[in-house]
Symmetry: C2
């Protein structure tokens, strides 16, 4: 589709300028699919003509651009969509208002795992601090929930339950509208337009699936998320973050805190016994939702201080609940404090110093797998050990996990095939991937953390200089959005090469935010990963981007799958329209 400027002078037609016409995602889809039907282009060309990132528009509601709206602030659009609700200022209020049937927008300086209940209850999330990979942003994107972060123009007074934006004041209960794509914060209830994916979308996706080599999995922590992702075409779970389950009910977080307060392995084991049935039920739900598809479960990753309250009032409540004194709780919270939690006592370091925790989680996975297997659910569990930097860490924890699985299975005739692997997210793990591969069935690149450590950037703090860096072109782009091929990418490539050299059939994936970014997916195709994993709402984007990456690879003659398969007829509705396209294929 072309925009043409022309003039007619003295009976002659002059074409002054022509360029590819701008179009909405829906129009781009329709044009591409209809041109294939009209045999003007083949499906591969159609795939290349749609911008994967633009699909976001189709997957979320948008604001009616014709409606009047007063924009009072702009932040970073962290998770697309349009949300309208009444402003609330604490996670508890969000849950309370939501339970009364109100639509709410949770407004916070920043969020932490303690807020997850309220975040889930909210229609949208708005923070004044943090970047595109802050807690709020990552969690919201995972849920496909509208979110704006880093809206520094807001002056939030959480105690007074109000915020100021310029000369306007919004108090608890006021209606606001937030635009998670453009980052606009608006007063009042701005009307929205519902998304609909439509037939063209499904047709293009089918073509894309036949072209792509990369698998597409999803990052999902609940059966509901998993089902959404599966509807969007996810071929498995690439990352289930078990820690989110620790917060999802008062009984659970209570047991977690008991475990943290316990000062002996036995005390911890007693508290963990209470968590076991919850975790087992969680995993059964995931296995059922993903029947027949692999489910990669990451063992506990965050430091323990994320599970204790940091405000005195809540600490006092915790003390009452646990039957200990407030100073005792405060002593423990202080002891857990870390100067740099990102580089602290977390991931497999917890698994080694408190082995009971991982034992419980592995037991829950194994028991859930057996129980589902008995109900004819086809279970493919993959146990993923985070933050490994040394082969000795993985060897120790793998042996321990295998022992627990064997013990669980010893009571049953059924056998479930387990894969045990690790994340590659610490630079040392990338460099020593050959040694680590000896004990890994798979590697999953945790490119968020790998970028943080390779750069020496904390995602929570880089907001102070990253915008200026990008603006001054010190950095070409935000490295947390698209992978830095020259730096972090070299480590990924090295780990792939060394890992596969040591273990030919090592399965390779990525589960960082980059797994849903088209530019990064092109790199992951070239480097030979087996799959990418991304948040549910990015699965269609990843499918299309993976197809484009495959097509680009084939063009440069490094293809693996045959073009014959890729251009195979893509459904009876358009069967007659498909034809190979010159200039795209080299085979």
């Amino acid at each position: 589709m072309q925009d043409i400027e022309f003039t007619v002078e003295d009976g002659r037609l002059f074409v002054l300028q022509t360029r590819t016409g701008k179009r909405t995602a829906r129009a781009a889809l329709r044009i591409a699919v209809e041109m294939v039907r009209e045999k003007r282009i083949g499906p591969e060309t159609a795939i290349l003509r749609v911008d994967p990132a633009a699909l976001d528009q189709l997957l979320h509601p948008t604001f009616d651009e014709k409606a009047p709206a007063e924009v009072v602030a702009k932040g970073l659009g962290a998770s697309p969509g349009a949300a309208v609700g009444r402003a609330v200022f604490t996670a508890e209020d969000a849950e309370a208002w939501h339970s009364r049937g109100e639509s709410v927008i949770l407004v916070r300086a920043e969020t932490s795992p303690e807020d997850v209940g309220g975040m889930h209850a909210a229609a949208g999330i708005l923070t004044s601090r943090g970047g595109l990979t802050s807690h709020a942003a990552v969690v919201a994107r995972g849920w496909g929930k509208c979110c704006i972060v880093g809206c520094g123009e807001l002056s939030i007074d959480a105690r007074a339950k109000r915020f100021e934006a310029g000369s306007r004041v919004v108090v608890e209960g006021d209606w606001i509208s937030i635009d998670g794509s453009g980052g606009r914060v608006m007063l009042g209830k701005v009307p929205t337009v519902r998304p609909s994916m439509g037939e063209d979308f499904r047709t293009l996706m089918k073509w894309a699936d036949r072209c792509r080599r990369l698998g597409v999995r999803t990052n999902a922590d609940t059966p509901a998320d998993a089902r959404v992702a599966r509807d969007f075409g996810a071929e498995g779970i690439g990352l289930c973050r078990t820690e989110h389950m620790f917060f999802s009910s008062p009984e659970r977080i209570r047991a977690v805190r008991e475990m943290i307060l316990a000062d002996s392995p036995e005390g911890r084991a007693r508290a963990l016994d209470k968590l076991l049935p919850f975790q087992r039920a969680d995993f059964e739900g995931l296995f059922e939702a993903m029947d027949g598809l692999p489910v990669t479960i990451r063992l506990l990753d965050p430091p323990l201080h994320e599970f204790v309250p940091h405000e005195e009032a809540q600490q006092a409540e915790m003390a009452r609940e646990m039957g200990v004194s407030l100073p005792e709780v405060q002593r423990r919270v202080r002891a857990l404090h870390e100067a740099n939690p990102m580089l602290g006592h977390r991931g497999c370091r917890l698994g080694i110093t408190y082995p009971e925790i991982y034992d419980m989680q592995v037991r829950a996975i194994a028991e859930a797998a057996l129980a589902c297997g008995a109900r004819k659910v086809r279970v493919k569990p993959e146990i993923m050990i985070p933050l490994v930097g040394f082969e000795t860490e993985l060897r120790f924890l793998r042996a321990r996990a295998e022992a627990v699985v064997a013990e669980v299975q010893s009571g049953s005739k059924r056998r479930v095939p387990f894969r045990i692997g690790t994340m590659i997210e610490v630079p040392r793990a990338a460099v020593t991937a050959g040694a680590i591969a000896a004990d890994a069935d798979f590697f999953s690149f945790g490119t968020n953390d790998l970028t943080q450590m390779t750069y020496g950037y904390s995602r929570d703090d880089a907001g102070r200089f990253l915008p200026q860096y990008v603006e001054q072109k010190v950095l070409p782009w935000d490295p947390f959005q698209s992978i830095d091929e020259e730096g972090v990418g070299q480590l990924v490539r090295l780990a792939c090469e060394r890992g596969r050299a040591a273990r030919e059939h090592l399965h390779l994936g990525v589960c960082g935010e980059h797994g849903g970014d088209p530019q990064s997916i092109d790199f992951f195709e070239r480097v030979g990963l087996d799959y990418v994993s991304c948040s549910p709402y990015r699965v269609p984007i990843a499918r299309l981007a993976a197809a484009q990456a495959s097509l680009a690879q084939r063009k440069t003659g490094r293809a693996k799958p045959s073009l014959a398969t890729a251009v195979a007829v893509a459904g009876h509705a358009i069967a007659e329209a498909v034809a190979p396209v010159a200039g795209v294929a080299t085979e």
Copy 2:
């Protein structure tokens, strides 16, 4: 020297067992030197027979082991020596007591740059938290001051000015004795033995200097430190940390805080103008102390929040001094807070976002160099830009530094040759060293930070799991003490290869703690660095270790300097004793 067990039975002598006899460092030195004099061994063999780490005993006082002592706790011996003093619990008290002529031991949970004055005033430092590379440990080693860290058995109540250790209580003013080698905390005044290096030490050091290829520089921030290091044989300063100078007087820290409170480049420049004469005087002192030798000055590295007080009382004082309100100070302190300061707004990131700071420092260096040059001091300044991860960072800051130097020199006929280089301490810098070398005259490996980021360990927090890791053999040793060749070492090697491939005469050094560790020095020899830099009191250790590393390298046939030079006569006193030794040389 052998320990021989024997028995005589029925007139026959039976030798039951024989092994190399244990000896003190002093005895080892004497035996080695005397055996050369007696022509039993050559100087190279003598060099190989003395353990460099044992030299520490000779460089610091020790406790008289025959005297009675009550050990009440054990921590990590972070900086060797024996210190006896009265317990004090704040840096201010340490300075106050010291100014009254008292010898004090500063007892703290941990130390921060604000405590440096008190640390300097104290005879020894004792902390209950932190590892061998915590602030207290690094600063104390730099000064050769006795220090114990991570003494978790102490329960310190800083407000009450007392600590408990088991059943014993020590209150302010009580005498204690601390052993910085063995980590022992003892009650009362335990008698000490003074060190004396002696003639044997000097003789062996001369032999070592003729054998070694690696240069040995020192990490020093003051002329006094620099002179100590020079007396110990340092061949230049490899790391001057300019931030320590920011704390060394009330006027300075006041100007630094004015700079931090300023909200415009002009305001910052005004405050920095006040710092300029101080910094210039500092650098003049260093250049004079190091007349004829290179002085590498690192521009500001730590995040700005290290320069503001975090206790309300001191914040109020700062507010009064600055003529602003307490809430204003608190707002700024809060704004500077970082979730992971290690990975935050520091190093060259400060230099790019607040260019005035580095401009002032470069100006101070250039003016000091000119002033010293005019006094016939031979000045060899090297400007080192910290925390570079991108070639664009270095390019930007190098251009800016060159402009400032040119401007300063434009007012004078004199020209001082400047080198501008960078630290390699961020994994990305190691991986992209080829591109970074384009703008670097030298690389200095900051292996403390490089280890932190390559491992994903915070030095301040790793104490929670590192001891257990080493104990369970997950890690073979503490990677902050001896470099991890397989992980961090690969990045060092890669950076050396890529850096030299891009720039043949790139000068390579190391200024992390590893620069004074014999095992790491062996690696630095093999990887082809030009020099190591370590704290003043480790210089002799590094000289001997470098000689041993050179000898080991030559044995494997990869030597650069000729053996003929190395075994040249080592001083008239032992000229007649020197002879080439079979079995050591391959040339």
